[in-house]
Symmetry: C2
Subunit: 385 residues, 2 copies
């Protein structure tokens, strides 16, 4: 294998498009100068349609978790009651953050691989009017579930005064998001997944309702104080040193997204999801999630009669293909394919056809080419729509 | 489609591995300084095994054609008799260069898609002892034929005093080459094919016999005077400004080749050839060349019942996949897939599976996935060897 040949198909970080890599290689500039001001001025309006909001989307230098923590420390304080919908490892992360701040967590555990049900949420909220914030995950990276955040937000607002905070780290930029219309109060994402950048930025926006809470929240915070980011962004600035190279790259992200069209981007991701799912279904290898709960950005496969880890190892050795394993109690039980950001239907065909070889190499009985064929058929079908 | 997503699978230029791209981005250095001297010193021995020679391999800033012209102007002069074996467009290029210099060309035309036969060459040379040089092509890019240069060189030396000049532009670096052992007198290649670099360098080596001729040849030449390159390379220098960035890249080419192993590189190319051929055979789409005549770097396909140009267009539109058309009288008759340099078996699976979709889209009756399956089978078979 050529040493350079790496097929990075984990659910983030995702591969970086060459034009973004190139944009990030521009010579460094001072972050308090006119150039950075103008760069932020140009970027600012472009983030809004990706979030589906008229609010300013704040940019923090930090990983996705810093964005999740920002959502917590800006909306609640020790002793407050929150409801966390845990559909996987990243719902669980919200719990851990809240617990670190001695926030009173009401936790709804949903079987990993299933989506949260708005009905269950409704019942809980009706019984617990003390809940101040509901935390949920749009795409649960650890299972490939896309939670129905639109319905969840609607349910929450119908039955409670709580804010709705959504972790959109592994899908925003690849799926439809209408933060304002859906009533999402805080939406967070990261740079390294569907946004096609290296890790290092987190993006966060808040509704007017949320801003009232944020303004008055007594929780101590400094770096993650969203008020600082908001007040600075109005002046095309940041409170602390921004990730300058990543901002160079971010501007190119928007060029690519605009060239393709945001709608087409989300259509492409759905197509890649459908191709991947059809392939494993044809190969008779169980998918972890139902079609209704499936995310367009990551697919988890739950093999019944072979070792996921063995497959991961062999495709990596043979083809440099990186796919992810399971997290926590699903470790060793599933494997996960990231098909997000800089990934095309042609790449999905490559993933499937190489995994088919991997399956043969670990002596799983399949007919070669069948999964690929199923994915090809979906491609042609969707094209005809 | 993401604007960045281009699958460049023409028979050169080929895609550039990221680490080579990065190496070429080093800050420029003066070409008469110590750094360039040391760079050439490190590169010099690494080119020899790629050519299979103990001679110094000279590096000229220019495209492959400049290397072919160097081979001509250094070995013959106006009025000299040469024998040019034309198996395609690049054999023809030797003819054109020779004619520009009023060299007397004896031309052997071989049907495009077939390899040259040493028998025929033998007969011609026996009848024409005045031939001073035999020009031939190792891989004929326009047809995907790999001529039997080892046998040709042997035949020439058995039946004549002529030098054997070989154009190895589209295969050296990907196929076995034993210039010294096989009796090749001049071997030329370019940077932009199996050598994984952008166009801009040509590499050329000459045997002791050839150097005697070169020394005494009265043909006027300046930039392409190989004596200048030879005399300078001894001092780790070049007679004229070298392609400095490409030399940065070239050093990384050798790192990649050494990491993979030269033998494995050539094994990988044979595997990719076999996968590609098996796929089209399974799809019942005729290959232009026989298995015996096939090149490991480029495969020409000669469709009987669909338009090659239509297929090329549709795979480009759908997947950003660039495959080449035919040249000269084969224009519109064939399409050509480059599988060389920075290309892996996983890439071949991607090429095949996307072309299958392309075939469906132009209403060619095939069963999806069958070509991919055939390629997968070859992969598993060769692995077992």
């Amino acid at each position: 294998m050529i040493a350079d040949q790496k097929l990075l198909r984990i659910p983030g970080p995702s591969p970086i498009p060459p034009s973004i890599q190139q944009a990030m290689s521009k010579p460094m500039i001072g972050h308090r100068g006119q150039e950075t001001k103008e760069l932020l001025q140009r970027i600012k309006p472009k983030l809004k349609p990706v979030f589906g909001t008229e609010q300013d989307v704040l940019i923090i230098a930090g990983s996705g978790t810093s964005g999740l923590e920002a959502a917590v420390v800006n909306t609640v304080k020790p002793g407050d009651d929150v409801f966390v919908i845990v559909t996987g490892a990243f719902g669980d992360r919200f719990v851990k953050i809240c617990e670190a701040y001695e926030i009173k967590v009401h936790r709804l555990d949903v079987d990993w691989g299933k989506a949260a049900s708005p009905e269950v949420i409704k019942d809980y909220l009706n019984e617990h009017p003390e809940i101040k914030v509901v935390f949920t995950t749009y795409c649960e990276t650890s299972t490939g579930v896309l939670n129905p955040v639109q319905k969840i937000a609607k349910t929450v607002h119908q039955h409670s005064e709580a804010l709705v905070v959504v972790d959109g780290v592994s899908c925003i930029g690849a799926v439809e998001a209408k933060m304002d219309e859906w009533g999402i109060d805080v939406l967070v994402t990261g740079s390294q997944k569907a946004m096609m950048l290296p890790p290092g930025l987190t993006f966060i926006a808040a509704s007017d309702r949320a801003w009232k809470v944020i303004e008055e929240n007594e929780q101590a915070r400094f770096y993650l104080d969203l008020r600082k980011y908001r007040d600075n962004l109005v002046k095309d600035s940041t409170p602390f040193t921004p990730g300058v190279s990543l901002l160079f790259g971010l501007e190119q992200v928007f060029h690519l997204m605009e060239e393709e069209g945001l709608q087409q981007v989300s259509k492409r991701h759905k197509l890649m999801m459908n191709m991947t799912r059809a392939a494993f279904r044809k190969l008779n290898i169980p998918l972890l999630t139902s079609d209704e709960a499936a995310s367009p950005t990551v697919t988890a496969i739950s093999p019944a009669d072979f070792q996921a880890e063995q497959l991961r190892k062999v495709v990596n050795t043979e083809f440099g293909l990186s796919i992810a394993g399971g997290q926590q109690h699903l470790k060793g039980q599933i494997f996960r394919i990231g098909h997000m950001g800089y990934c095309s239907p042609a790449d999905v065909l490559q993933i499937i056809s190489t995994i088919e070889i991997g399956l043969k190499k670990i002596n799983k009985c399949i007919e070669l080419g069948q999964g690929t064929q199923a994915a090809q058929e979906i491609y042609l079908l969707q094209e005809d729509e």
